[in-house]
């Protein structure tokens, strides 16, 4: 409930909406616009937890089909429990180094090729909740479209938000989204974005991915978004 204290203290917080209900408004807008169905949400939830089976640091991992997810009752319609993130304790740390220092420490540094973040108004009524204009703008500044995106680690705490972000980032079918399981598998809120960068960096440093995108968000319904492009050097 503490997230309610993050909303406009005069016009919205006194109504005391909880964070799941706020996200559900966005999910409803997705359905009403015809951009997605509840089955699309369930696919994201199912795939994310299945991916998390390979992530020993994940909190929540299982193998259930989208049909099974759809059979759950609503938590806050149209969101089901599996569309929502777990409540997580966690921390993350990333070490940054420049140029030759980075090369001396790891065989294959994950170079930051672009990083940018943008914010939108907090008021839900001032935004089209089915798109993420700030993500699109940050992606453009960070140069996401300048090369292929092998992996995207997106900070999408709710299943429908992955769909919004993938569209805003211009990701195609060749991009593997959230191989770690993403925030649906572990969501220590204010560090979940840094976890995305770390997860992507691991994959770039190991050579599993050549180039990828990490994303972090803050505020209700994807108000503020950061986009980071990481790339490995060809040997």
């Amino acid at each position: 409930m503490v997230l309610t204290r993050q909303l406009d203290p005069i016009t919205v917080a006194p109504l005391w909406p909880d964070s799941v209900s706020i996200a559900a408004l966005q999910a409803r807008a997705m359905l009403d616009s015809g951009k997605a169905t509840e089955a699309d949400f369930a696919e994201v939830a199912s795939r994310s937890r299945r991916n998390a089976l390979d992530n020993p640091k994940a909190q929540l991992a299982w193998d259930r089909s989208a049909e099974e997810v759809l059979s759950e009752p609503y938590t806050v319609a149209p969101l089901r429990r599996s569309d929502c993130p777990p409540i997580t304790d966690g921390a993350a740390a990333v070490v940054l180094a420049a140029g030759d220092v980075a090369r001396s420490k790891v065989d294959r540094p994950a170079w930051i090729r672009g990083i940018d973040h943008r914010v939108e108004p907090i008021h839900l009524g001032l935004r089209d909740l089915t798109v993420s204009e700030s993500t699109r703008l940050a992606a453009s500044k960070a140069g996401v479209a300048d090369g292929p995106v092998d992996v995207a680690e997106l900070h999408a705490p709710f299943s429908h938000q992955e769909l919004i972000l993938a569209e805003a980032l211009g990701l195609g079918v060749d991009t593997r989204i959230n191989p770690s399981g993403g925030a649906l598998a572990a969501n220590a809120m204010l560090t979940a974005g840094l976890v995305r960068i770390g997860e992507l960096a691991d994959r770039v440093m190991s050579g599993e991915a050549r180039r990828g995108v990490a994303h972090a968000t803050s505020g209700p319904c994807l108000q503020q978004n950061l986009v980071c492009v990481l790339e490995g050097e060809e040997a």
């Binding site: 503490v2 997230l3 993050q6 914010v119 108004p121 907090i122 503020q224």
Partner: protein, 389 residues
Amino acid sequence: MGKERVAVVGIGQTKHQATRGDVSMAGLVREAAKRALDDAAMTWADIDAVVIGKAPDFFEGVMMPELFLSDALGCTGKPMFRVHTAGSVGGSTAIVAAQLVQAGIHERVLTVAFEKQSESEAMWALSLPIPFTPPLHAGAGGYFAPHVRSYIRRAKAPDHIGMLVALKDRQNGLKNPYAHLHEHDITFDSIKDSMMLWDPIRYAETCPSSDGACALVIGNESVADAAAADGRKPAWIKGTAMRSEPTLSAERDTVIPLAGALCAADVYRQAGITDPRRDVDCVEMYVPFSWFEPMWLENLGFAEPGEGWKLTESGVTALDGDLPVNMSGGVLCTNPIGASGMLRFAEAAMQVRGTAGEHQVDGARTAVGHAYGGGSQFFAMWVVGSDKP
């Protein structure tokens, strides 16, 4: 270092008072920001990024208020950062904004710091509850009073020094139209007769609780050159530094904190200052309780240990003295906590721009802004000058 030259090209602040009931938090920050933009002859559209600072969210009960304030500050579609380093945050926020320009990432950055203390009760928000700490003190004054007593003992300072600081700062505040306290009838005796709150700190030697905001526009060299060509003098930023140390470390010296001394040494080195007492024309430092003036004079290298109170007593730190300190009236006249550090940095910039009005120091060319926060844990400083570095 490959840094871009940067300067303050716009300054704005609100009228500070105990309760700004006429504006919301959003209205308060916008008032300061609009004045800074007007001063810089810019509009919201000219700004590349916005950096917002304030002290603990607990003070107003809004978590991460930068999110809801981003609309009022014209952040839509722009990068927006929040900075938080307790009472020093106004200074740290200005430094983060300056570094975004120094690094060449942005050309024009708006930075805003605020507190609306009337929305809650900061004194009790700062009084840590049992069982985490014993109930030994109430508010920041209770925490700092032992440090002051330690200073008085070590420096063999006479009792009246704190009262002299309070009198000077309150009289300086009379010349500052934005100051919260305008105590026209204040005298040495009225301070002496005021209630002892946290021995040896009397009521009249403490800062008020204020609502207020401060804003700066920081630009790169071409922005600052254009302002100068247009007759609006920039305040060139000659050095910035931040240092911190652990509050509860048993071996630390709270009278002359190492982090404060290292912060000063770093910023002077960047600015080419070898003898601060001689090279600096005026200082705006964070003095929430009167005795911190002599303490910080020593910590920042303006006096040897044990000698700071002599500068205060002999009038060196008066507005017409050889080293004026807290020309604006300082934190003792105005304390919107999150903004207090930025107000210090802003006053230093106003002095070297020659725009400080009745509290202008004649011919000020090099000025120091200083802020501290937490339990004397965080330190932030900058040196600004009238000449391009």
